[in-house]
């Protein structure tokens, strides 16, 4: 029994470290798309934010999809997003504001890594075309409906 408790304690203590080595989607400001000057496409400067996979053997093969989930005048809306490839080899994509102004919006990004096989989500609350880093949720598994709705409710 004491061994089991010890194992559980060890696992609990190691959980953050283990989580840090799990597949996830990281987001960053547009400047993370690269500060190169001559070759920086104009579109990079319009990006709301960029996203990249972490801890995946082949970052370039990670599939990332996104939707903007909104609450506008009490009505739920959903906008499917087209992601802009920024660095295909590194799996870096940009997100442009494709949702309307007004209301409260959360961008939900889902990614799947083929090796090691894993899925992850990131929920990104938006203030217009600016992302709110402090409230961003990086999840090591697909986001649930409840997590999304709770974040939208927190914004409104």
């Amino acid at each position: 029994m004491s061994r089991l408790i010890a194992l559980l304690v060890v696992l609990m203590l190691a959980a953050p470290a283990i989580a840090g080595t799990m597949f996830r989607l990281e987001i960053g400001p547009p400047i993370a798309a690269g500060t190169g000057t001559a070759n920086t496409p104009q579109v990079k400067k319009k990006l709301a934010f960029v996203v990249r996979p972490l801890v995946c053997d082949k970052a370039g093969s990670v599939q990332i999809t996104g939707t903007a989930e909104g609450l506008v005048n009490g009505m739920r809306q959903s906008v499917e997003l087209s992601l802009i490839p920024v660095n295909a080899a590194e799996g870096v994509y940009g997100v442009l504001q494709q949702w309307p102004e007004g209301g409260h919006w959360v961008v939900q990004l889902n990614g799947s890594c083929p090796s090691p096989k894993a899925s992850a989500s990131t929920l990104v609350p938006m203030n217009g075309s600016t992302f709110i880093r402090e409230k961003t949720q990086v999840l090591r598994e697909p986001a649930t409906r409840q997590q999304l709705e709770a974040l939208l409710k927190e914004l409104s």
Partner: protein, 343 residues
């Protein structure tokens, strides 16, 4: 001898219209000239034939045709008259255009400036000033790149425009730019720095003493001055000073203590203590400030700045500690690109 024939005078001779002297001369000539006598006989025969013709009234159609012919003639004359006037006017206009062309203002005016107060827009040339010290506001339209709003009590000089550069010179006051252009195409010169647009939207203010500050709202920009460069992403600001150029950038949501310490460090006020505060107060996002300090602190302080950044985000493979402490440009750039994900 030469004989002067009289056939030109014969019709009037027949009609009795010659003077006595002329008639005597013709009579004398006809005596000796068979040719003129024959001509006289033909004229007299024709006159007799005509005299035998009946006189009848012309039908109305003939008179109408005659009237119309007269009108046509007048119209034709009128057309010719108008044509002459048109040609004359054309010549005068061409001359006036020539004069205008030779004295016109050939200065290129690539800038469009709208005075918000009166709603008018006018073209302005490089070298002209937009001055809102009277309390007005203005908007500078930067071609198709974007706009620059000029706040009251501001003086901005319009610079040269080329395919590779649009330049403004902010003497004092505040401008807010929203630009969508390739990097480095739009530049704002201030007394203490050049704001090189790498991004989207920002506000630049310059005080009476030449010191200023840049606040980024979207994208990112670079402040450059005598080889010194500060990169300022959205949400961050950076002060500029005439003596030292661009200062160290920091995020506006950083702690008050950190912001005050950065200002102290930049002006050289108790730098060691200021650095202590910055290192202690820094969050992961404040690696923006720490990264810039790597190349600005004394060599003896560089290691502790490095260690603090590495606590948040170790440098990427290849950008070793030694290379970074030696301020290797490539290693610094690679670490910055990694850190930017946290900014």
């Amino acid at each position: 001898m030469f004989t002067r024939h009289v056939d030109d005078s014969l019709p009037r001779y027949c009609d009795g219209e010659l003077s006595a002297a002329e008639r005597q001369r013709v009579d004398a000539h006809l005596v000796s000239c068979a040719r003129c006598r024959m001509a006289l006989e033909e004229i007299q025969f024709s006159a007799n034939v005509v005299r035998q013709l009946k006189v009848i009234s012309a039908p109305p159609s003939v008179w109408n045709a005659i009237v119309e012919a007269g009108l046509e003639t007048r119209l034709a004359r009128s057309r010719a008259y108008r044509l002459r006037w048109a040609v004359a006017c054309g010549v005068v206009l061409a001359a006036a255009a020539g004069v205008y062309w030779s004295i016109r203002d050939t200065t290129p005016k690539p800038w469009a400036v709208a005075r918000v107060n009166d709603g008018g827009t006018r073209r302005m040339a490089a070298g002209e000033w937009v001055d809102t010290r009277g309390g007005s506001t203005a908007r500078i339209i930067v071609g198709e790149l974007g706009t620059v709003d000029v706040a009251p009590r501001t003086r901005v000089r319009l610079g040269q425009v080329s395919q590779s550069e649009y330049r403004l010179q902010l003497d004092r006051g505040t401008i807010s730019a929203e630009i969508n252009a390739p990097p480095r195409l739009f530049i704002v010169d201030t007394p203490a720095s050049a704001v090189v647009d790498l991004g989207c939207a920002y506000t630049v203010t310059v005080g009476d003493d030449g010191a200023g500050e840049l606040r980024m709202t979207k994208g990112w920009s670079s402040l450059e001055w005598k080889g010194r460069e500060s990169l300022v992403p959205a949400g961050a600001m950076c002060r500029t000073r005439p003596a030292s150029g661009p200062g160290t950038p920091y995020f506006e949501d950083a702690s008050a203590a950190l912001k005050r310490a950065v200002d102290d460090f930049d002006v050289g006020r108790d730098r060691s203590q200021a650095l202590d505060v910055i290192v202690r107060e820094a969050r992961v996002r404040d690696t923006l400030t720490l990264w810039h300090l790597l190349s600005r602190v004394d060599a003896s302080d560089r290691a502790r700045v490095y260690e603090r950044i590495a606590e948040f985000e170790p440098p990427p493979a290849g950008a070793t500690r030694d290379r970074i402490l030696a301020l290797d440009a490539d290693a610094l750039r690679r670490w910055r690109e990694e850190l930017a994900w946290k900014w």
